[in-house]
């Protein structure tokens, strides 16, 4: 690992001052950053340790639940308020990584993790995300784990997070601090598609700091489910995952939220499929129809065509679980 300078500024303001310089990175849990630094994928000159900032709390707000950026993934997944109000988030968190990693990983860090595309990780291979302009090794390579939605000729990598799929489905809002002031952006607009700039994963501007996420209260807590399909039963990245949340009354779907993981450069929200469910009976037929709608525009590559079948199947199963039919 390349040597770097390590600093621990005393306050959030000092952190904001410190992160403006190029070559500077924030470290929280470090579960992804230290990994990437060991492999030479990234080599910051300076690490800014923010772990002592008071951003760990999980508190009810007027309209929802506010989760600090430094709350640990393990803590959030077992928090009483989260389990009561947003069980989907707990399920998504528990589907990710391992207990050890969840004890280290933070909410903000989870959002900032990079893709696990093997061409991104292998510094001897071309990768537009790691080194813009070098090409995409996955496009014509072994692309079994790769995206089927929202790809570009520059990059077909997927976002690896489970937590983010849950937060995208739950209409979470990202709370961001910066020297020019604070701002809030919808979770679904935080991460971006690769387009011509796959090196940029999200819309966090240089010098900005994620301070938390807020999840609005909803009526989904009785009918939500996170289903993750992977190569082994635990401790593996998703081939496809689905966050499903339903508001059912008298057997009729009043409201629905759906998002997919393992299929795009960002958590992939299924707005059209959600709309198709509203007012429909909570039956397998409705769910299959929604899954069909969700797959419109999907495009497979040489080794990931199986996802075209796996994804709608996973959507249907997740909805059945959410509705209590499975």
């Amino acid at each position: 690992m390349k040597q770097f300078q390590y600093i621990r500024p005393a306050t959030q303001q000092n952190v904001l001052d410190a992160i403006t310089k190029p070559g500077t990175k924030i470290i929280a849990g470090g579960t992804n950053l230290v990994d990437l630094m060991k492999r030479g994928v990234t080599a910051p000159d300076k690490l800014v340790d923010i772990n002592h900032l008071p951003l760990k709390s999980i508190t009810p707000s007027k309209t929802g639940l506010l989760i600090g950026a430094l709350a640990l993934n393990s803590v959030v997944s077992e928090n009483t308020l989260v389990l009561q109000k947003q069980p989907l988030l707990s399920m998504a968190l528990k589907a990710g990584a391992s207990p050890q990693l969840r004890n280290m990983a933070t909410v903000g860090g989870n959002m900032m993790q990079r893709t696990r595309c093997s061409y991104f990780y292998d510094t001897t291979m071309p990768c537009n995300k790691r080194e813009p302009g070098t090409g995409c090794g996955a496009l014509e390579g072994y692309n079994r784990m790769h995206a089927i939605f929202g790809t570009s000729p520059q990059c077909i990598a997927v976002h690896p997070s489970d937590m983010c799929v849950g937060l995208a489905a739950l209409d979470a809002v990202v709370v961001i601090a910066g020297k020019k002031g604070d701002r809030r952006i919808p979770f679904t607009e935080f991460h971006r598609l690769p387009g011509d700039h796959p090196e940029t994963d999200n819309h966090l501007a240089p010098g900005e700091l994620i301070v938390g996420v807020e999840i609005p209260d909803n009526n989904f807590s009785q009918h939500s489910y996170y289903l993750k399909v992977r190569d082994r039963q635990s401790y593996a990245f998703a081939l496809v995952s689905v966050a499903a949340a339903l508001d059912i009354s008298g057997g009729v779907i009043r409201n629905a939220r759906l998002a997919m993981g393992g299929v795009a450069h960002k958590p992939w929200r299924l707005f059209d499929a959600e709309k198709s469910l509203i007012g429909k009976p909570a039956t397998e037929a409705s769910f299959k129809h929604a899954a069909q709608i969700a797959m419109q525009g999907a495009k497979a590559y040489e080794y990931n065509a199986f996802k075209l079948k796996m994804a709608p199947g996973t959507i249907t199963e997740a909805l059945k679980h959410a509705a209590g039919l499975a």
Partner: protein, 214 residues
């Protein structure tokens, strides 16, 4: 590279190559010093002061507790807790498997919580309490989980075992050992290439059901 002894992992590869940043820093610190005050710097070089300057730039002091013993060390920011435990404190019970957070062999407890020490920077455990596999037994008396792993053959080659045991103890303390399914899910961060999983689960279940204090 050193020749590898049978049964050792290629940890010697961790050593910095000749043209490392450390050497560059040493040289550049010297060059800067020469440019500023030639006479003094020449004398300083004779006394190896340049090396001390470079070290002062690179290393940070940390204090933390390991298995109940207070440690004050000087570490590079890039040194992981795993490497510090093994290389600076000679606590080689904690194993380096993958070194990338994928196998769990390096699992230790920091302030009572299990973490991957290979992904933990040493500078970030400043002021914390670390427990390694060496800290579980009380003198000659093994920890109940160590006894149970022996009784149930919870290992074959034994390389993953320290991490498995640290994780198993945490699994019970966290309240995640209530069924075989739950144990398997909450032990998934520890890979065993020999496939001793059924025996590991048995060992954990026995300790849990035995009501031993862990």
């Amino acid at each position: 590279m050193k020749s590898k002894m049978p049964g050792t992992l290629p940890e010697c590869e961790m050593e910095a190559p000749e043209n490392s940043r450390r050497n560059f820093l040493k040289q550049s610190a010297l060059i800067t010093a020469v440019a500023l005050t030639p006479a003094v710097a020449t004398k300083a070089a004779d006394m190896h002061v340049d090396e001390k300057i470079a070290e002062a730039f690179e290393k940070l002091p940390i204090k933390f507790e390991v298995n109940g013993v207070q440690q004050s060390l000087s570490v590079e920011p890039r040194a992981t807790l795993l490497d510090i435990l093994r290389e600076q404190l000679d606590l080689t019970g904690t194993k380096k498997g993958c070194d990338y957070g994928q196998c769990g062999a390096c699992t230790v407890h920091v302030d009572g919580h299990r973490v991957n020490s290979c992904l933990t920077l040493g500078v970030m455990v400043n002021g914390k309490k670390v427990t390694t596999i060496e800290g579980l037994a009380k003198g000659e008396e093994l920890h109940p989980m160590q006894e149970a792993f022996l009784k149930h053959d919870g290992f074959q080659c034994g390389y993953c075992t320290p991490g498995q045991i640290m994780s198993a103890v945490a699994c019970i303390r966290e309240g995640h050992a209530n069924s075989e399914t739950e144990i398997r899910e909450f032990m998934s961060g520890n890979i065993c290439r020999c496939g001793a999983y059924p025996n590991i689960v048995n060992a954990i279940q026995e300790v849990k059901e035995g009501g031993h204090a862990v």
